[in-house]
Homo-oligomer: 324 residues x 2
């Protein structure tokens, strides 16, 4: 991490001295590069995600939640590959050197990294418009990684957790929707927006059963289409099966909820496909993952994404959602 000498001590306190130490990190923050010892017979999974102030978050987001979310969205990508998190590198651009901000941000970041046994190994802190970038590294046993391209006709399509909570929270926050709901319901929805849970354990558990996987960052419809395109297949989703949280169900009707569930984004659940013959083993194993999984549809030979409800095809033309 580069910075003036006066700030070295603070950076050390906030980023270097906090967090777990791993035996496979001989040299961490403080030299020109970190030195890492990857395990034998493993592939390394590497992913990078950036969050920009005013684009991906605003002043509503608690500062520690920013740190948490930066870790979570990156760990979610590792989960979608079936990888076990190991190392993270932070690039932080800050308008000024605000000690309180750095304390809260680093606390949220490192708590979440620690929880997944992921060590902060270095990075760069620069002055400029608030921009947060994390690169995370994980391990996956050789050739056991999950891709978007493995889905086969007949595979069941699963999602973890529930869909639409974060998008609904954002709509309520931005007054795009008005719903008379309890403060506890609002809080439950906000929690899903500010503190998504990366499905790391689930990702590693399904490595041997799933044919394909992706994490849901931009909404089920758009993200599932990445699987369909990469796998050269189509899919049929039963909208009545999309999992809803209690808070979500207390706020919107089934049909009202679909846009949030299909194109809202920010769910950070996993979407994956499992062949019929491995469903038994998969459903047994997935019980250890600490999160429910729901079968919502099936992969079909015919290209395209089709939605049904109560036996009838439903048109959903407002697909995908983008940060760019």
């Amino acid at each position: 991490m580069d910075s003036t000498r006066g700030e070295f001590a603070l950076i050390e306190r906030f980023f270097k001295e906090r967090g777990i130490k791993r035996a496979d990190v001989p040299i961490s923050v403080g030299d020109d590069a970190a030195i890492l010892a990857p395990p034998a017979n493993s592939h390394l999974a590497v992913t990078t995600d950036t969050m920009v102030s005013g684009v991906h978050f605003d002043a509503h987001t608690p500062i520690d939640a920013l740190g948490h979310k930066l870790a979570a969205v990156n760990l979610s990508d590792l989960a979608a590959m079936g990888a076990e998190p190991a190392w993270a590198s932070l690039a932080l651009t800050l308008p000024d050197f605000d000690e309180t901000w750095l304390d809260q941000f680093s606390r949220g970041l490192i708590e979440t990294l620690d929880y997944h046994h992921c060590s902060l190994i270095g990075g760069d802190i620069t002055r400029g418009p608030l921009t947060l970038t994390l690169t995370v590294h994980g391990f996956v046993p050789k050739d056991r990684y999950l891709l978007r391209s493995g889905a086969q006709p007949g595979d069941r399509i699963y999602v973890s957790g529930t869909l639409g909570d974060a998008a609904l929270a954002l709509a309520l926050q931005q007054d795009k929707l008005s719903v008379a709901c309890d403060i506890s319901v609002r809080e439950a929805l906000n929690e899903r927006l500010f503190r998504p849970t990366p499905r790391v354990m689930l990702g590693t558990l399904i490595r041997n059963q799933a044919n394909s996987a992706i994490d849901l960052s931009d909404g089920l419809a758009g993200d599932l289409k990445h699987i369909l395109t990469a796998s050269k297949v189509g899919a049929r989703i039963d909208l009545g099966l999309l999992p809803r949280s209690d808070a979500f169900a207390a706020s919107v009707s089934l049909e009202q909820g679909w846009p949030y569930q299909l194109v809202g984004g920010d769910d950070y659940e996993l979407c994956f496909t499992v062949p019929e013959g491995r469903r038994g083993a998969f459903e047994t194993i997935s019980r250890q993952a600490g999160v429910a999984v729901t079968a919502i549809g099936v992969i079909e030979r015919e290209p395209g994404l089709r939605f049904i409800h109560a036996g009838k095809e439903i048109q959903c033309d407002h697909l995908s959602y983008s940060h760019f």
Copy 2:
């Protein structure tokens, strides 16, 4: 890389289809994470550097040079560890999706990565204030990495190339200094500011001889102090020995040049220490590096950094330079 569908094709053209393919990258841009195969019996070196518009560069910088420099400053950190570059991950935040800008930037970036056999394996493109972050990965044979902390009293201190050119170019550009010099001299200095050369080959060649190393990004005085602090030693530098380029020597006197050489920054040369007993082997081997090396001083037991010239001690109190 995340972005809307309309832009996927352009990103593929600019970043995915350009550049070398490496056999140790089974999965590159296009899934949730890249999948990499680290070599056996090697340590992995990982470093991240960010460049922010208005802080680290301005409109004077040619766009392809931005791409080049982002690669170069990161590869320079790998060189300082003695690591051989392998993989790079890009986080690009852009105010708008400008095809010409992306074409020129990616060309500069990938040409420089290619030259060092480093493959772009993924990243994230987001909208926001112009911020460029690269994370690079390199290999170093197990336990053969170079650190800042290995310097020993009696070690000779070396630098590669010449010092001060980039800082002088910047001062001339910003009208902080007025010098009557040829256009060819100005161009030579600008080239060093816009297109620094990471000393990658030198870094790998000195692994077995050097006791410590750092790359010069913030100026010799500040960066050498990192070695002294980490190694718990001091040093004496002979200012008359600091290597000057022809363009530098044509522009400023010896004394005038010292501030640019000591605290100017942006040299991206290596500074390293070699014990007396390995100097013969080192100087022979270093001839293969394609860049001159110059002995400029010696590591001493007494803490602190001392400067001499013509046998007399010189006071240099304006030390270090920071981007933050």
